[in-house]
Subunit: 131 residues, 2 copies
DNA sequence: TTATTTGTTATACTATATGTATAACAATAA
DNA sequence: TTATTGTTATACATATAGTATAACAAATAA
């Protein structure tokens, strides 16, 4: 799995890592039971500190996407465990709201906004994700 | 215009302010030419520091939503100035992507995601916004 | 011209977040 | 037992967020 980091981005490195791995799960590249690389290995590969990778893994664990065992390492969770719950809906809604608001201010129609969203989902389908 | 802040939120206060004002513009509550309160006044009303409000105004100016004059204060820009440009599309896309990815991981279908977005736009329309 | 309003800037301080660098600790599978 | 792996601790640097005060600067209105 190829992970590209943008060290100039205002998005923290550990968050970019979280996003990359979630994208891997969404597209089916990472399947339940798959192992993530050891923190030391991934840190070396990406040229970042071990603790940065560890922070990303902890975050993914918190979100329910992986389980972490000593020695076994980080493993992708089963699909059941990561189902959308009320907490997620609230977070999703709270994230989408300001984006929609600014879009309306900038004269994007509802239709244009939905089309943009559709494009993202089509990209996921193209890579093998089911949605 | 009523602005409610959540001091416990992980979203910075100045950013919550930015969102609130953008929402006001989206719904039509704030129209081109309308004045925002002086930084001191708004800061006092909200119980935050003057510089926090100033930061929000600077951010809104940067985004093209307001103009700031000495003495006259902050004024909502004309609709033309805040049209969506390539920079905004990129930002919007970059923000939507991880949300869509995580949604797919949590078994939201494309259709469910689009419905959720639609609800937000309907809320905007209900409040008088055009989209 | 003068006074007032308003945004702007400067300084200082606190707390938190992000990231690096090292090193040691602890569990567990082989 | 040993090697691997996650975990934790320290220390450090930098940036962000927010508060508190105060002074500066422009522009409008009297």
């Amino acid at each position: 799995m190829l992970i590209e980091l943008d060290f100039q981005s205002d998005i923290p490195i550990y968050m970019q890592l979280v996003h990359a791995i979630i994208e891997g799960i969404a597209t089916g590249e990472l399947k339940p039971g798959d192992k993530l690389p050891p923190v030391r290995t991934l840190a070396a590969d990406l040229g970042v500190n071990m603790l940065t990778v560890n922070k990303a893994y902890q975050h993914l664990k918190q979100l329910g996407f992986i389980q972490i065992h000593r020695k076994k390492g980080a493993v992708i969770n089963s699909e059941e465990i990561r189902k959308a719950d009320d907490k997620f809906y609230k977070r999703l809604f709270a994230s989408l709201r300001p984006l929609a608001m600014e879009s309306v201010c900038r004269h994007l129609t509802k239709s244009q906004f939905l089309t943009l969203c559709s494009e993202i989902f089509e990209e996921i389908e193209l890579k093998g994700g089911k949605c």
